[in-house]
Amino acid sequence: MKTILMKPMLKRSRKENENLVGYTLLAPWLIGFLVIFVVPMAASLYYSFTNYNMLRAPRFVGLDNYVRMFTQDDSFWISLRVTFFYVLVMVPLRLAFALFIAMLLNTRRKFLGLYRTFYYIPSIVGGSVAVSIVWKQIFGNDGVAMSLLAAIGIEQRLSFIGNPDTAIWTIILLGVWQFGSSMLIFLAGLKQIPSSLYESALIDGANAWSRFWRITIPMLTPVIFFNLILQIINGFRVFTEGFIITDGGPLDSTLFYVLNLYRRAFTYFEMGYSSAMAWALVAIIAFFTLILFKTQSSWVHYESKEGGR
């Protein structure tokens, strides 16, 4: 009798216990989530419908900020175009290069560890201010690029950074230069492709080209998918490079979206308008993520779940 009564009670108290344990462990993150994320997000949404310069209280203006953004603000469209160009050129180039190098390194040879280290180092330092400063000197006036070209007899009037046609390419190069971490992810992915697939393809007489397109690429699509999402999100956040190397110029050719947002907020103190810009960025990133997820089934190849991943 006693045990029968005890059992459901025990079970209930254990359940409650798990809730207590769970929320105790989660508490610090939850506090941070509320203070650093939820409250600012809600505030940002509210500010985006107001006129707010931090001197006077926010004044509600409805959709004015959004209307102004889409219909009157040229800089919004310029920065959007610049950022799209950057993301759509840099991310595929970086991933393609990373895959190419990963395939080259996916062999049994000497010094592979050393090469991997060399190729990876730019990824860990690339986002720093120090490297942006160096990039500015390499491609700026009298920098490495100009002095090299001069040494082989090509005199330029404008540096790569001073020329509106090439400035963005120096920043794209800086992005592609950091292909190392993607390369490592691809290397890990390549190692997991069972060699039996390649062996049977060889027996069937498939050449290297079709082995690449029919085995390597499909088997890597989950990795490519994951990388693509992260890199696109990261790409839209590009800021330091544009701020330090080119300061958005010349002629707004490197006016990245976040740089534009930063100026609106902290140069002109248009807090309401910059919040609206921030939400437009959220919408853009959500849109890209959604499209990638929606098209996932048509190009991402997952192994059957039997393996229990």
Partner: protein, 283 residues
């Protein structure tokens, strides 16, 4: 014979190309180092050269270390170290606790909260920066290191995700055995999970340190008092067009700012490589 010769040529070609690419990858860093050794007046004569014509090591490092606006560079390094170490310890500990809860504890709404974690992964922090600035301004936290630490301190989605994956890969039998021996959930967490999950902890610690050390956006917005600047912000001061251009000092301090990053990399390379390969974290 023929085949052996061909593979030797192939191998030679492979190494030649790999080394050439390696040189291009490392060149900007070598050039930074070389420029920090060059005399200030000769840095931009034959700028591409890696060998100084006139040496100016001591000048550059001394003038750089003397800092900017009367604030020695050591102050910036100290500020960065304080922010990076407190932010990292807090961030890793809070992430680990949350990750264990998600991976091993069945609590109500855990699925919902995990979805929230993933959403924070998708939203760039630049979106929150304006309200965060306003909030910190109201709390009088602008120009304090607390403002820089806060956004990192409570854990980050990347590390939670990484650690959840890692903990889920651990055999549950150990937990069960410990439970039978009378261990509470906290006991299992402390005695069983934490020791086993240490590779993921190391990986997270390194990345956290890197991200905070190199962060530029948040210090740029939250800090205006030069004595509270971090290394990233201080380097930016060298570029100020209104002050005279101390290029030698700028390159020297750029090198100094990269030394901790490279050192950590050399000592913990294994953890970094594994961490990236398993989680897809961007370094």
């Amino acid at each position: 014979m023929n085949v052996g010769k061909r593979s030797r040529v192939n191998s030679l070609l492979f190494h030649a190309l790999s080394m050439l690419l390696g040189f291009f990858m490392i060149y900007p860093l070598l050039w930074t180092l070389a420029s920090s050794f060059k005399d200030n007046s000769t840095i931009f004569t034959n700028a591409y050269s890696l060998i100084p014509e006139q040496w100016g090591i001591i000048d550059n490092y001394v003038s750089g270390w003397n800092g900017i606006g009367g604030v020695p560079f050591g102050t910036f390094i100290l500020n960065s170290f304080i922010v990076a170490s407190i932010g990292t310890v807090g961030g890793v500990v809070c992430s680990l606790m949350a990750a264990y809860a998600f991976a091993r504890v069945k609590f109500r709404l855990s699925g919902f909260w995990f979805m929230c974690v993933m959403i924070t992964l998708m939203i760039p922090n630049q979106v929150m920066i304006v309200p965060q600035y306003i909030l910190f301004k109201k709390l009088h936290l602008i120009d304090t290191l607390t403002a820089l630490i806060m956004p990192w301190f409570f854990g980050s989605a990347f590390f939670i995700f990484l650690m959840v994956q890692f903990i889920r890969g651990l055999p549950i039998d150990l937990d069960e055995a410990a439970k039978i021996d009378g261990c509470s959930k906290f006991g299992v967490f402390y005695r069983i999970t934490i020791p086993l999950v240490s590779p993921a902890i190391v990986t997270s610690t390194i990345f956290s340190f890197y991200w905070i050390w190199q962060d530029f956006f948040q210090p740029l917005i939250f800090m205006s008092d030069t004595t509270k600047f971090t290394v990233s912000l201080a380097l930016n001061l060298f570029l100020d067009p209104n002050s005279y251009s101390n290029y030698g000092g700028m390159f020297a301090m750029s090198v100094v700012s990269l030394i901790p990053v490279i050192l950590v990399f050399l000592f913990f390379q294994k953890y970094l490589v594994e961490g990236i390969a398993t989680s897809g974290i961007k370094g």
